[in-house]
Symmetry: C2
Subunit: 519 residues, 2 copies
């Protein structure tokens, strides 16, 4: 029997039914046979996607269709996620921007990483043949959509956009928190494919937990992208590695995103940092991968001022609805378990909101750095708690602070708040702190907040495990590298070379020829 | 009790004893404690290796020391591997060249992949912060040395050179076929490190099977490079993936290296191709990762001429000694098992040489493409047989040929021999053939032989699994990418930025600034 997939309103916890184009049962879970058919259909699109111009058209068309359907997409996503119209309107704009950014990447062609070495019969120690290398698409990519970004990290999101840009068809496994939005967006992407002259099945959508497992094991799937929890991501990573033919699994799993406030920074801006922190950890009801989850603040009067400001701001944060009831239950339990740990105090208690059982309140915990310096019961504080909770660790001097930093797992981001003078000394304590944070994360920020991830060439959204399962990024132009592999042609007649590799550079792509970069 | 490691002379099958600096027991197998100490010692070298100039000095110094010790290194390697003085002299030159190539890569700095995006407060959909990205070393790299290249793919080889270039200390697990050569080369590398002002433990050597297993599981090991067999490589890959913190495992495991000879090529150059093939598959007694192990030759008179030429040349190939007795036994058994398969004929029988039980003779097998078109007993022919054996598959038309190609696993190389006119048609059958070969391999050659791997920027020595366990290369300038991860700095004061990322480009590294490449 086909298992129905329903859209659930997190504001009520109930299945959405009744009138409207996106209410009622949305789809059915894909059987193993349906997953197989989906992957085969996507694989059949590989040859058509070799046309770079068509890929660019597809990405630009998808951005346009998304914008044209913005009202319906945002309304549907809001009904399923409770993230709110302003945030989702912004996320849609960001998603369209991201699709166009990857179209620009495709058009420019630098991602092809063309390297040409002409033959050299006099080369030492042996004569050198003609060798020309560029990158080709891996094949069908499985994308596992995230709960917390129904657009930017889901069906039309960065994994899909970068895979299509690379020339890889995509089978997306929808997140159960927003199946109707997923169906809507998949329809837009499929329409964009057809309008670009590509097969409709360039993008295929499947629903269901088992479908996700089947997908990563399918022989014709060549790589996977994932954004989600550590247990879910690790299970799929393990399945990808255990295949007869292992495949790259680019998973973004979890991150504490530590923040260090130096004594000088606290002395200069305690209140500003305290309120800024409250704004960042409660943003989107704390449902960001980059939420600052562990904050090292100095002991003493300046740190006290910071904490007081944080308390005031956190108390004023409005209650909010989490993405689904399982997350809400996990958050309430997780916050309570952390609050009950020995030595932990609770200036503002996070947990279930009194007025509305669907809502949660933001809060934070306080603990001494000395209590975290060694393995023990408090290690739970070193695990991400998804939702509006953060942990402030009071430290007493650099050694006390570094003892905690040394115990942290890998992170997407690490942030330093520095005093004005600290930023000017290249070899001072702030430089040492930044080196330590660099070892911990894929993005290091100074005097900012990690929530908010710019889509740009220099972005890196990834980090040491468990932040990501690979050294790659899932945001920014270089995210395309995940879906490519190099191939070199040796002594190949010009007519048989891909045009990107021919002398004269007929397609005008950036190349490195005989060691010299050229446009 | 410490387990002694002996050097064995494959020409006699006996342990080398007696006088001389490299005869007798060479070392002991590393215990788990010794592996731990080796990794910790290497990890302590990480900060010093941040100095790019020192890395360059180390690599150039290692090349010079290797050349200065050439006589002793070549003699020792020959005594342990029987590869012969000419080949090993060439391999040493190639290895020194490779070390200097990576010094050039370090000096140039393009591998840092610097991308700088200046802030843009007017950017849509949201203001853009200052973001500057480059790549940093992963940490300690474990290198598993290959049997068949005691220098170029072993202690001073490409994995070590590229890891050091990236700034990663290296712990090498010696191959048991050349422990004395490994000790000698490790000593040279450690001396080069000290002379470059770096810690001696920038390079550490360990021996023993269990040491290799311990190494890939060690918490402070951050990546691994491997060249060897499918079973051994897969076991280590699985161990790397199963760690609490999984690490990248770049393994080169096995490859058939298919060759397709078109009807036109056979008509034009049957004899030349037949003798060329014999030269390639018997080179180095067939002990190359790129040995052509499966050759599709047309049926008919031209193919018959090719086969006749191959027979003549293969019969004249001198008997040779394989690297060790286990390999010789496996080769003799593997050749016999393949020769006994139904439908297989044996124009020149490979196997044990009559005159000398340490030696083997080269040979080849013939089979009809139709017999390989479907899964069955003959699938053994689709597995690599390490040593001087190849399989010639006679095909009858493109469909018959492609049915066999479609059944092949991933390869390091795939080669087409084309007729003169075929190379001129961009959309003809040869182009289709090259597309098919591209899907099968990481390097595609026309009218050449895959043995011989140029060390250059455009080289790609890797391919779909099982050729490699990742999308990377182990030869050529881009091999350095395996040991790096990106990190982005957001809104970081200039004094705290790495100099590579500062405005004005004080170190003069190639960069991409606001979307424009600059030198």
């Amino acid at each position: 029997m086909a298992v129905q997939v329903w859209s659930v309103d997190p504001r009520t916890g109930k299945q959405r039914t009744g009138a409207g184009p996106d209410a009622g049962p949305v789809a059915t879970e894909a059987t193993s046979e349906q997953v197989d058919a989906a992957v085969r259909a996507a694989a059949a699109a590989v040859p058509a996607l070799a046309d770079r111009a068509a890929r660019s058209r597809l990405l630009r068309g998808a951005a346009r269709l998304l914008e044209e359907s913005a009202e319906q997409v945002v309304a549907t996503a809001d009904a399923e996620t409770a993230l709110g119209t302003p945030r989702l309107t912004g996320e849609l704009a960001r998603t369209a921007f991201q699709l166009r950014t990857f179209a620009d990447v495709v058009d420019e062609g630098a991602f092809l990483d063309v390297i040409i070495d002409h033959p050299d019969p006099d080369a030492k120690p042996i004569p050198r043949p003609d060798l020309r290398r560029y990158k080709i698409p891996l094949g069908v990519v499985a994308v596992y959509a995230a709960s917390n970004f129904p657009l930017a990290f889901s069906v039309p999101g960065g994994d899909t956009a970068s895979a299509l840009a690379a020339g890889c068809p995509v089978v997306v496994k929808a997140h159960p928190d927003h199946p109707a939005t997923s169906e809507l967006c998949a329809g837009l992407l499929r329409r964009a494919a057809v309008e670009a002259g590509l097969p409709e099945d360039t993008v295929v959508l499947v629903h269901g937990f088992q479908a996700g497992v089947d997908l990563v094991r399918h022989p014709l799937v060549s790589a996977a992208g994932f954004t989600g929890s550590i247990p879910g991501g690790r299970a799929l990573f393990d399945a990808a590695a255990a295949r007869p033919r292992p495949i790259p699994f680019h998973g973004e799993l979890g991150s504490l995103n530590p923040v260090v406030v130096t004594e000088a920074a606290a002395a200069e801006r305690a209140e500003q940092i305290g309120t800024g922190l409250a704004g960042s950890f409660t943003l989107g009801t704390g449902q960001f991968c980059t939420k600052p989850g562990l904050v090292l603040a100095p002991s003493g009067a300046d740190g006290d001022r910071l904490v007081a400001a944080l308390t005031g701001a956190a108390q004023q944060a409005p209650a909010g609805v989490l993405l689904d009831s399982r997350m809400r239950d996990n958050f309430v339990k997780g916050a309570a378990a952390r609050a009950a740990l020995p030595g932990v105090t609770v200036p503002v208690a996070a947990g279930a909101a009194e007025a509305d059982e669907q809502q949660v309140r933001a809060g934070y915990l306080l603990v001494d750095a000395a209590d975290l310096a060694e393995e023990g019961a408090l290690d739970l504080l070193l695990e991400e708690c998804f939702g509006p909770l953060t942990v402030v660790v009071r430290y007493d001097g650099a050694a006390s602070r570094d003892a905690v930093l040394d115990r942290l797992p890998g992170n997407l981001t690490a942030t330093a708040h520095l005093g004005a003078a600290e930023g000017a000394a290249a070899d001072g304590p702030a430089a040492q702190l930044l080196r330590r944070l660099t070892a911990l994360a894929g993005r290091v920020l100074v005097n900012g907040w990690p929530t908010g991830v710019a889509v740009t060439g220099a972005q890196h959204h990834g980090g040491p495990y468990p932040a990501t399962t690979s050294t790659s990024t899932s945001v920014g132009a270089t995210a395309i590298e995940r879906w490519l592999r190099p191939v070199a042609y040796q002594d190949t007649p010009p007519a048989l070379l891909p045009p990107e590799l021919r002398d004269g550079n007929p397609l005008g792509v950036p190349r490195r020829v005989d060691g010299v970069a050229s446009a």
